[in-house]
Amino acid sequence: MKLVIGIVRPEKANDVLEALYRADVRGVSLGPVQGHGGELDRVETYRGTTVKIGLADKVRFEIAVSDPFVQPTIDALCEGARTGEVGDGKIFVIPLERAVRIRTGETDHGAVTPVGA
């Protein structure tokens, strides 16, 4: 059981969701984050004020999966998020100690397997 964290471009988030759906990965959390990962700064000008935007908007996926689903999840994230330009993002895989489904009290494998899957 692993927690897969994927940080991707916001404009690719929808493609990632589609790819995950096709890979039968159905339980995801995501949210907006800002970060810096080596991409060039974007320059913006507001009247006389010119700024470099050092932090880029990203979307962070958090996906808890059982072991057989780790590789398909990583593949889906790569497939959906890649453009080939600097700034496509990162994937981190972290061992997951416990998972509990609040509604039923199911733990671990049962908790990370979506209902009906």
Binding site: Q34, E44, T49, T50, V51
Partner: protein
């Protein structure tokens, strides 16, 4: 006797002039209001660019109008186009414009604000993907090749007005002109890359409502000013501009309830605009009672097109065709049935025994859409040969605001590092095609 009437007609009336000064400012307000309405309807990453397309219309169409557009539209009574006598505002002075009691200069300014809003309306068809530069080139050429020509036909002494077509405030040049040009523009530019794949939702319904409200406010100058005086026709059109959109709102509420069991806010904003468009051509020609009937009945075809259009592949993004083209078409035809001479002093419609009026209206309802569609289609194809019309897919994904303007509608300031002026701006925007 003739001499006396001429002498009276050629005098500037201060009351009329005061109203038309205000009306001109009201109509100009409609373009930023449209920008707000459109900006609310697009995604946050494209909000500024969408607004800026309307601001660009003020800039480009305003200049083109003064240079050539006004002359082509309002100099002389040629069948198809006016003359070049007023190019560069030559001979446009404080003397009253023929047939009105307001200074020629003010007449030109009032008509200029119509040209501006019409150009801005078309942007609704191509937002979120059309390059800003290509849009400005299009705006310059369209304002002359399409708007000025249609305005001449309907207002300036061209074949439609001479033939008896009634168009009070611009059903032909403004509403059908923009609506059917929008359809052509959407076909040439093509759909947004995510159209039909992802839900592309309005990012701020409040903007849409505020924008629609300000448009309605401005529309009192648009319709109420199109009598060029404080006389009966202007007063009738002004009052109908209150009544028709109110009825369209009620009709829209009912249609929303029938279709989805809820009254929607974006629907209400749309209904206000549809109502204002419906009464634009008919404002000074139909009774208040018929104006209300027009608001109710005319909402239906516009609503139908708005429901059906997203089921097609045509990404006419903000439904300019439905709200302006179809509603303008409906309003123009409505005059042919329900115009009433004892209200307008000009002509009756079919219902009051003058079937010929319906024929004149039908002619305009056919000619204007065909001209607008064909010329816009060809014009954009030609511009497309010289420069790319839309941004790349990658840029479209990033959003038009940062790509086209280097600004965001909602900058957080987080992670923004001040570039000191003396250091120079060495970094370039890291966008590759």
């Amino acid at each position: 006797m003739d001499g006396v009437i001429l002498a009276q007609a050629s005098e500037v009336n201060t009351g009329d002039t005061a109203w038309m000064l205000v009306a001109t400012a009201l109509v100009l307000l409609m373009t930023p209001a449209l920008g707000l309405f459109y900006a609310g309807l697009v995604r946050a990453k494209n909000a500024l660019n969408t607004f800026m397309m309307c601001i660009a219309a003020i800039a480009i169409a305003g200049v083109m109008w003064a240079l050539v557009g006004y002359s082509l539209a309002f100099d002389g009574t040629g069948d198809l186009i006016g003359g070049f006598g007023h190019v560069g505002l030559q001979d446009v002075t404080f003397e009253p414009r023929d047939g009105t009691t307001i200074p020629h200069l003010l007449f030109m300014a009032f008509q200029g604000t119509f040209c501006i809003i019409t150009v801005a309306l078309i942007s609704g068809a191509v937002v979120e993907r059309m390059r800003f530069g290509a849009w400005m080139v299009f705006a310059a050429l369209w304002s002359v090749l399409v708007y000025a020509v249609l305005a001449h036909w309907a207002f300036g002494g061209g074949w439609l007005i001479e033939g008896g077509t009634l168009d009070f405030a611009g059903g032909v040049p403004v509403e059908m002109g923009s609506g059917f040009s929008a359809l052509a523009a959407a076909l040439v530019i093509g759909a947004r890359k995510d159209y039909g794949r992802q839900a592309l939702l309005p990012h701020n319904a409040i903007y849409a409502l505020v924008g629609a409200g300000l448009l309605w406010f401005g529309w009192f100058g648009f319709n109420g000013g199109s009598g060029f005086s404080t006389g009966n026709a202007g007063v009738l059109a002004f009052t109908n501009t209150l009544l028709t959109p109110a009825c369209s709102l009620v009709a829209w509420f009912l249609l929303d309830l029938l279709r989805g069991r809820r009254v929607t806010a974006i629907g209400a904003a749309t209904a206000i605009i549809v109502g204002c468009v419906l009464i634009t051509p008919a404002g000074g020609f139909v009774s208040p009672g018929w104006a209300m009937a027009l608001g109710f009945a005319g909402a239906l075809p516009a609503y139908a097109v708005i429901v059906l259009r997203p089921r097609t592949r045509v990404d006419e993004t903000l439904d300019v065709l439905a709200a302006h083209g179809i509603a303008g078409f409906t309003g123009i035809l409505f005059i042919g049935f329900f115009a009433q001479q004892n209200w307008n002093g000009v002509s009756d419609g079919l219902v009051y025994g003058n079937a010929a009026q319906l024929g004149d209206q039908a002619l305009a309802a056919l000619a204007a859409p065909v001209y607008a569609f064909v010329v816009t289609y060809v014009l954009l194809r030609v511009i497309g040969l010289v420069m790319p019309l839309r941004v790349t897919e990658h840029e479209e994904a990033l959003g038009m605001d940062t790509v086209q303007h280097g600004e965001e509608a909602y900058p957080t300031g987080e992670g923004a590092i001040l570039v000191m002026p003396e250091a120079g701006i060495e970094a370039e925007v890291p966008i590759r095609t």
